[in-house]
């Protein structure tokens, strides 16, 4: 019974860390090191400058945006007033978009990843009829173009009266074939069959074994799948664009795109470009924060997934 009580959730991560080589500090001749540093710093600038531009532009007024140097501040610091204008836009609907995005992402990531975990575990640790065929079919659908799915889904949903509801955005994102694939590979590597067998010999039921042993061992991989699903839903644009027409249901991507269209159209007779830019800035902050705090999971789970 010791296996059942042992806390196992960190073990694969620990195993991973153990296998990491001692870094060969100082390896390579000096010029090569300097060259590597120059290359990496230049590339770092390439990746970060667009984000710096986003921040700098969010501190400008509309006219400054088009008249000042793009990679430095304009006159004065207008980030505060842009953000105020953003949260005042249409009675503070931007809050609503942020909350919606969070709910859609959280629900679909948690529920979808649980489905993937259970399914991946089944593929990894059981032999059953139609196993490889089923797995092949599921994995094959990764290649289906998004347009081929979204439009018929819309037509089917509208027959069921589901369009223009939060369910229209959440339900289709529950299916995560790549998540299932990752969970299968992860389960194969982190859940030893012998452990399950000995638990069975101890008389534990299949569901209990999954819940109390397998799932715990699979947790790092599960979190990775969860994070990817969360980011995917957070950044999703096409599906909510097609499904939703009531602005109070919009996620932030569709809301911003809509606002951007309005910013450049005749109707309101006012330009909102820097307000939209401030919105874009705010929309990416939560994900960047999540990246910073959950770094190890981006590697932990992925390493296993890609070793196959």
């Amino acid at each position: 019974m010791s296996a059942l009580t042992a806390s196992g959730s960190q073990q694969p991560e620990a195993a991973l860390r153990r296998r990491r080589p001692a870094t060969r500090r100082g390896a390579g001749p000096g010029p090569a090191r300097a060259g590597a540093h120059v290359l990496m710093i230049a590339c770092l600038l390439y990746f970060l400058v667009p984000l710096a531009w986003l921040f700098l532009s969010a501190t400008k007024t509309n006219s400054q945006l088009f008249s000042s140097f793009g990679l430095w501040f304009g006159h004065g610091f207008h980030l505060g007033s842009n953000i105020t204008a953003l949260f005042r836009y249409q009675g503070g609907i931007f809050w609503r978009w942020l909350v919606n995005t969070f709910i859609y992402s959280a629900v679909s990531a948690v529920a979808g990843s649980l489905l993937s975990a259970a399914g991946g575990y089944a593929f990894a640790r059981y032999r059953f009829r139609g196993r490889s065929l089923l797995f092949g079919v599921v994995l094959g659908t990764i290649m289906v173009p998004s347009t081929v799915l979204v439009i018929p889904t819309y037509l089917l949903f509208s027959k069921a009266g589901l369009t223009d509801t939060p369910f229209a955005v959440i339900l289709p994102t529950l299916v995560n074939p790549f998540g299932l694939y990752l969970m299968r590979v992860y389960a194969e590597q982190s859940v030893p069959a012998e452990l399950l067998d000995s638990a069975r010999m101890d008389g534990a039921g299949e569901f209990r074994i999954f819940r109390r042993i397998a799932f715990r061992l699979m947790t790092p991989g599960f979190v990775t799948v969860l994070l990817f699903a969360f980011v995917a839903t957070w950044n999703n644009y096409f599906l909510p664009l097609v499904m939703l027409s009531t602005p109070s249901y919009y996620p932030v991507t569709v809301g911003l795109a809509n606002m951007n269209a309005q910013a450049s159209a005749g109707g309101g007779a006012q330009l909102l470009v820097t307000v939209v830019i401030a919105g874009a800035l705010i929309a990416i902050v939560p994900l960047i924060v999540a990246f910073l705090f959950l770094q190890r999971y981006w590697r932990g789970g992925l390493a296993v997934g890609s070793l196959r």
Partner: protein, 322 residues
């Protein structure tokens, strides 16, 4: 016995020992029956949503692709007429050619960059590795809508920083949104968004390579670059294959970036810049859902064929190497 040792044993034993399902001490038969039903129960929730939100829409789309709706006269069954029209549609091929070119140029460039970054990060020669790792990965957190929007501004003439810098140096920036340069401009946006993501996958795989394996390979005293190319890269081949497959799928399905660029370069993008964009416009602008479904299925077939061709080559080479 703790789990860590078990995990290691399992890893070696796994390939030899198939699952034992005969072992219940108390009620062997009932346990076996339960174990038999278990995988289906675990799979049921996933398969339910899979059936509802992938299989059903696909089936419906397949059905639609055999019909045609006319403004006058409504929906009629036309058999494979949509497909025969699609394989003769030059607008479809133009888009397909573009994404194929995109694939041939952008994907190798991005993956080579990702591999180089991952190798440098892994080599330990770098200071502040965490900063670089995160900095490279951060664009992945930016929704592609926002990413394309940002680059659209950066590319702009007069107010765009690129133009401002080049004209300060007395150079003249070519129009980055003109028809000749649009594809590289889009490739740059996609490279910006996904290089870090691919780098992380390869880096994670590098970090997971068992130390003994690397040390064994290291004894022959090769230089760090040779060591990286000859030893490390082959070790993480599966990760590279994975990122390549994703890039095949991603580039052939290119949609959001050109769609956002349409608003600032409409006549360059047009309605068929990529097959996915074409399918979208067929559905929503032209109201030709059925024809659009046929185009999408053809695109799916191309992606499928491309991915399998790639996998087949990879496997063949792996076999001949061993």
């Amino acid at each position: 016995m703790n789990i860590l040792t078990m995990t290691r044993q399992a890893a070696t034993a796994r390939s030899r020992a198939p699952l034992r399902r005969d072992g219940g001490r108390s009620h062997p038969r009932r346990a076996a029956r339960r174990a038999k039903a278990a995988p289906y129960l675990f799979l049921a929730p996933f398969l339910c949503v899979f059936a509802a939100f992938i299989v059903a829409p696909l089936g419906y789309a397949l059905y639609l692709s055999l019909l045609r709706t006319e403004l006058i006269g409504g929906q009629v069954f036309v058999g494979i007429a949509n497909y025969t029209q699609a394989i003769r549609d030059s607008a479809f091929y133009a888009g397909l050619g573009r994404v194929a070119l995109f694939f041939v140029i952008q994907v190798p460039a991005m993956l080579v960059l990702a591999i180089v970054f991952a190798l440098i990060l892994d080599s330990g020669t770098l200071r502040l590795r965490r900063l670089f790792r995160l900095g490279f990965f951060v664009p992945y957190a930016v929704p592609s809508v926002v990413g394309a929007l940002i680059w659209g501004y950066l590319y702009g003439r007069q107010f765009g920083p690129i133009d401002q810098l080049t004209s300060a140096l007395g150079l003249h920036q070519p129009d980055l949104l003109s028809s000749g340069i649009m594809l590289p401009s889009l490739a740059n946006v996609v490279t910006w968004e996904y290089t870090g993501y691919n780098m992380i996958i390869i880096f994670a795989a590098l970090q997971a390579v068992p130390a003994e394996l690397r040390d064994a390979a290291a004894v022959d005293g090769a230089g760090p670059v040779r060591f990286a190319l000859r030893v490390k890269v082959p070790l993480v081949r599966p990760a590279i294959v994975l990122t390549t497959i994703f890039s095949i799928i991603g580039s052939l399905q290119l949609f959001t970036e050109p769609q956002i660029m349409f608003s600032i370069a409409p006549s360059v993008i047009g309605n068929n810049y990529t097959p996915n964009l074409y399918a979208y416009n067929l559905s929503f602008t032209n109201q030709q859902y059925e024809y659009s479904a046929a185009i999408s299925f053809l695109l799916g077939a191309v992606i499928f064929a491309g991915s399998y061709l790639f996998m087949w080559r990879v496997n063949r080479r792996a076999r001949s190497a061993s």
